[in-house]
């Protein structure tokens, strides 16, 4: 098997809000190997976003260890973490988090802006490719406020792909999409996973979407209650082809 890209040991996250204490994660441990496609499921409030934020080096655990590609994230400086987020991780937020009053193209270019090795020409090219991958070629100059919810979500996905990360983390990335577009995104992710061996951690509510991944971890109340390999991975591409042609969704 490949090497352990994620090694999570007894991870805990406690939120203190005044006198109230929320135990969002209560000791989570699992290992993800390079090239896996993992979905994380669980009811609302079970700690999925909290976990993904920690995996994405955005948040720090209160207790426990998190090794990313063998490196204990706890020991990294703020700048090193920023570098990781910039080069290694593509993050799709549950709430999109797009820059308002900034064109789609520039939103996608944003991660590359913070990579000094990339020239402005390459940056634009890569951003256009990413936009093409999520079928937003014709919305390049639109502002996020001029896009539909699904289009905004796809824009957020394009931004996560643009820096060619080794790991893609997505929080409900298909939550606002119709079946066809969801399947398109899943097909894109499957392609990245299978052809480019990118590791994907995908948070979702829908068992239907989870069936495209190779493994499903289920959280409940801040704990892992189920961790199963998916023996029968569906192909999003095939499912897409099998969808009935509808006149309202060209």
């Amino acid at each position: 098997m490949g090497n352990k890209i994620l090694d999570i040991k007894n991870l805990k996250r406690v939120f203190k809000m005044g006198s109230e204490i929320v135990h969002a994660l209560k000791g989570i441990s699992f290992i993800v190997e390079e090239g896996e496609f993992v979905t994380i499921m669980g009811s609302s409030g079970s700690g999925k976003t909290t976990l993904l934020n920690i995996i994405g080096c955005l948040d720090k655990p209160t207790d426990g260890d998190y090794l990313l590609d063998g490196v204990n994230v706890k020991l990294l400086s703020r700048n090193e973490l920023a570098g990781l987020r910039n080069n290694k991780i593509g993050f799709v937020f549950q709430s999109y988090n797009l820059l308002a009053r900034t064109s789609a193209l520039e939103n996608v270019e944003l991660p590359l802006m913070y990579n000094s090795k990339i020239s402005s020409k390459v940056r634009e090219e890569k951003a256009k490719q990413a936009l093409h991958a999520v079928r937003l070629d014709d919305r390049i100059d639109h502002l996020p406020s001029q896009l539909s919810g699904g289009q905004q979500q796809r824009l957020a996905i394009a931004r996560a792909l643009v820096n060619e990360p080794v790991m893609i983390l997505a929080d409900e990335a298909t939550g606002n999409l119709d079946t066809k577009t969801s399947y398109e995104i899943m097909s894109l992710l499957q392609e990245l996973n299978q052809q480019q061996k990118k590791t994907i951690v995908f948070v979702t509510h829908e068992p239907d979407i989870a069936s495209f991944s190779s493994r499903t971890i289920t959280l409940k109340d801040g704990k892992v209650i189920k961790d199963t390999k998916n023996e029968n991975v569906r192909s999003a591409k095939e499912e897409l082809a099998a969808l009935p042609v509808s006149d309202y969704n060209s």
Binding site: N53, G56, L58, D59, R78, N79, A82, G83, R85, N86, N87, F91, F93, N97, L98, L99, R101, L110, P111, M113, Y114, N115, S116, S120, R159, N163
Partner: protein
């Protein structure tokens, strides 16, 4: 993040809030414009004083009597009553001072000058012919009196333009006419060129020049000399000439080494530097007042940068989540602050130059927009931007990515 991108982001942020950016800049604009204008006024008056003073002959040396005896509680006798300078002193200077080219005694009297029915209160000054070259005065018409005129106390004189216009009708040639000063008839042999007002607002054309002895003996009936004027070889040797004159006069006056001088020697150069330093002080004072408004403008920038950082907390979180380091965020806001202050600076300089020329035009004050004040203003603007933008920017750079993202 390269400089160009930083500039673009900052520029865009400003355009997004045009009115706010402008109002923030206003403090800087007013600050810079007032610095430029104030310094222009200060420098302008300095330059005009300087040019007037050097017009008076910058090599000129002026010797007056002074008291070397402390009286009572240290008060000294006023110079007017002192009689320590004699014509022998003038001769000694002429004979022994190597760095002096011309020397002339002077005495002056006030009185009424009369020509027929016209009369005018004025001042008559008794001098040697060299006096004109020492003061750098020119004749408009006629001739200067001679050394012989001085020797024989000739009743001749030269008149200034103000005197001419007050006792002669327009178009009348005064040369050859007899006028009376305090009842003493004097023949006008020349008219002095227009000189205008001096630095102190005195009309330099309201004067009559006559041979030294004529005024000293015939009008004043005194034996001493009131003032001695001399001219140094050149501007640089005026200090040498001064000490030379002091040595000669001390010897002449038989002063002991422990005695104080009973005269004062002042050079024009000294006077220029005294007055220049006074107006320099004025410039600094004006600039300081204007500088305060720059500081106020800077505080305005700081205030708006704090607001801007607060407003854009979510944006900062997002930028950090895609890989912006603390320094990237710091620079982003710092560049924005500097851009506000420098743009304000450019507009301020333009306003300042305009205001200076308006002051010259409407108030006819001399102004001089100095390059250094422009450069200085720009530097102060940049420093203001950095200084007042730094703290808000640093606050932004220290935000926690996930908390910033959650900020509503």
């Amino acid at each position: 993040m390269n400089a160009l991108n930083l500039l673009r982001i900052a520029w865009r942020a400003l355009l997004r809030n045009k009115l706010r950016a402008f109002l923030t800049m206003l403090g800087i604009i007013i600050g810079v414009a007032s610095v430029i204008t104030m310094v222009a006024i200060g420098e302008g008056s300095k330059a005009s004083i300087r040019s007037q003073l050097s017009g008076m002959g910058s090599n000129m040396i002026n010797i007056r009597p002074s008291s070397n005896q402390a009286v009572g509680g240290g008060a000294r006798i006023g110079a007017s009553g002192l009689q320590t300078l004699k014509i022998e002193d003038v001769n000694a200077i002429r004979d022994h001072a190597h760095f002096v080219t011309a020397v002339s005694p002077a005495v002056q009297a006030n009185g009424q000058v009369i020509n027929g029915p016209l009369n005018w209160p004025t001042t008559i000054q008794g001098v040697h012919p060299e006096f004109l070259s020492i003061r750098d005065w020119q004749l408009q018409s006629g001739v200067v009196f001679t050394d012989n005129d001085v020797k024989i106390s000739a009743k001749v004189c030269l008149i200034g333009q103000t005197v001419k216009s007050n006792i002669f009708s327009p178009g009348e040639d005064p040369v050859g006419k007899i006028i009376r000063f305090n009842k003493i008839p004097l023949k006008v042999i020349g008219v002095l060129s227009q000189k205008g007002e001096n630095t102190f607002g005195q009309d330099q054309d309201d004067i009559i020049l006559a041979p030294f002895t004529t005024v000293q003996k015939r009008i004043l009936a005194i034996t001493y000399v009131q003032t001695i004027y001399a001219s140094a070889v050149d501007e640089n040797s005026s200090d040498t000439a001064t000490s030379e004159i002091s040595t000669i006069l001390r010897k002449d006056h038989k002063l002991k080494p422990t005695d104080d001088d009973d005269f004062t020697v002042r050079t024009q150069a000294e006077l220029i530097s005294t007055i220049s330093s006074t107006s320099q002080l004025l410039t600094v004072l004006l600039a300081a007042i204007a500088g305060i408004s720059l500081v106020v403008g800077g505080i305005g920038i700081m205030n708006i940068m704090y607001v801007s950082v607060k407003e854009r907390t979510k944006e900062i979180g997002l930028r950090m989540s895609v890989g912006a380091r603390g320094i990237d965020i710091l620079l982003q806001f710092l560049v924005e602050a500097i851009l506000i202050s420098l743009t304000g600076g450019v507009i301020g300089v333009a306003f300042g130059i305009t205001a200076s020329s308006l002051v010259s035009y409407f108030l006819s004050w001399p102004t001089l927009v100095s390059q250094s004040s422009i450069v200085l203003s720009f530097m102060v603007c940049a420093i203001t931007g950095v200084f007042f933008g730094y703290y808000p920017a640093r606050n932004a750079s220290r935000l926690d990515p996930i908390e910033a993202l959650r900020y509503e």
